[in-house]
Symmetry: C2
Subunit: 313 residues, 2 copies
């Protein structure tokens, strides 16, 4: 059985045909170009998807999208990094233009489900997924079920405030986790501080470069690393107190900083967690890496097909 | 059908015999005296409970206790405001000394369930309860079920950090919601700032007096009120983003400040919540007031009796 998983990101759209054993047989990546507006983005996704699916038997299309998603209706209600995407019919439009059933899920929810189907969270029932990418997303699995809240838009873990009165966030608030621990946030911090660290080796100001420099002891890199891990420690500490999860999976582009970042997060999280919670959770990096988004989107299809509760759109 | 509800607080223990229509027929309050240690507290609770239950047919005893509770075993694992209470057998000890089945629950979880059985949350399935008392507690009901996390100790909403590197909290961390929005925290803030506000009318420094003074425009009261509602806005904003609840019920002694406090919390929460969540939740004050703890503890019995999953201890 094959499905098409579409990972809709702020800068790129990655898609791949995935079977239920987790093999990706065909794949394609296109630019998102959010500035062109919703309809243009949909048209380019459909063109790429149809080309990829030609000659294949595809049961369903799964889309992982940033923002508040109406999972039942396939609507993007609001997405901080997609200007103007307010109540847009992403699922219905792509379904009508491809002739295939579509399931839309918040990309971070999809990430958590993907880790449970294909990744490091396979044996767990209570999973918290955090994606550190252009934005910061959260996905929660409680007792083997995706947790979405009463109107389906919960688990916005990136918009927990970790620096009161801090940077303005895309969501309209100040000091959200996303303003610090996203790739965008990390890059901004390094740029803002660079004058104070003339000896820093950082040149391109990508999150990866900054965190790699921190690992080598670069003073600017270290400064940013401390603030980023402080923010993640506060937020993940809160999530541990709230959800009491078995495992926290860190994904997204920023997680490529690897073990060095993980150890920083582990240390700062423990500093923020009361003793009775010590040893109740572990923090791991996603191993699906670049394909986590495709796997996440695809896993939502398998989840739907398993539950046999998909309606035709 | 009658049960005994016991509300174990940091300073007082309130208990009452409650029937399934919500009538409290007999009641008693004793001092907690945590400084005397676990065994002495248990003995005084048992003496008072036995006196109250004499001649009554009591089906079960429910105890709402602060801290991390092992609900299955009736054990208090750790309780920030009860020094030395680490893995103490509260339920088994009281059961063996009264001869009656005992269910122990985190007091804030019990509060949320009590609001659903007897209070303002009767018609809701997704409820978040926050108690502002000696400490700050949280209780979560998702899809009509108490949410406890994978090892049963989640929903510690008072230990979300709202002021990074802020005041030391009883839990060992700094800047938890509890350090600001508890009665203790409010009182401390006013005492610390009092030299700057010689014209303030505040004399006793109780949370109630401070918030009432704020309502009258007292400058010290207003200063504290702003900081307390800022903290609550950050925390409740996070909870809305995470849980997407239908209703947030505010209880505990501090909630006696009433509509003035509620309006402050509503305003600051909305400031911290992204637009797509506006209108998805409402914030209300508990109307059970002084009896919320007894009702909460009692409701856990009715919940257990309903589910018929109680084991004999």
């Amino acid at each position: 059985m094959k499905v098409l998983g579409i990972d809709l990101g702020g800068t790129k759209v990655a898609m791949g045909i995935v079977d239920n054993d987790g093999n990706i047989s065909k794949r394609k990546t296109i630019d998102t170009k959010t500035e062109e507006g919703f309809n243009a983005v949909v048209d380019r996704i459909v063109t790429a998807a149809n080309a990829l699916m030609k000659g294949e038997k595809i049961e369903m299309i799964g889309i992982g999208s940033p923002g508040s998603i109406d999972h039942e209706k396939g609507i993007v209600r609001f997405s901080p990094n997609f200007p103007g995407w307010i109540n847009v019919p992403l699922g219905p439009d792509i379904s009508s233009k491809t002739g295939i059933k579509v399931v839309v899920e918040n990309d971070a929810n999809a990430f958590a489900v993907g880790e449970k189907w294909f990744g490091v969270a396979k044996k767990y029932t209570n999973v918290l997924g955090i994606t550190l990418g252009t934005g910061v997303g959260g996905g929660i699995i409680c007792d083997d079920r995706v947790f979405r809240g009463s109107t389906g838009i919960g688990a916005e873990l990136g918009h927990v405030v970790v620096e009161p009165n801090g940077y303005l966030c895309g969501c309209g608030n100040h000091g959200c986790l996303e303003t610090i621990a996203s790739a965008t946030g990390i890059s901004r911090l390094a740029r803002e501080w660079k004058e104070r660290y003339p000896n820093s080796s950082i040149k391109e100001f990508s999150a990866k470069e900054i965190l790699d420099a921190a690992k080598q002891g670069d003073p600017l890199g270290m400064k940013v690393f401390e603030r980023v891990t402080d923010a993640l420690g506060i937020a993940i500490g809160a999530f541990v107190h709230i959800f009491n999860p078995q495992v926290i999976v860190i994904g997204g582009g920023v997680s490529r900083a690897g073990k060095f970042l993980l150890e920083g997060i582990e240390k700062k999280t423990q500093e923020n967690v009361m003793k009775s919670f010590w040893g109740t959770y572990k923090i791991v990096l996603s191993e699906l890496v670049d394909d986590a988004g495709i796997y996440g989107a695809a896993s939502m299809c398998f989840e739907e097909l398993k539950n046999d509760k998909t309606d035709t759109r």
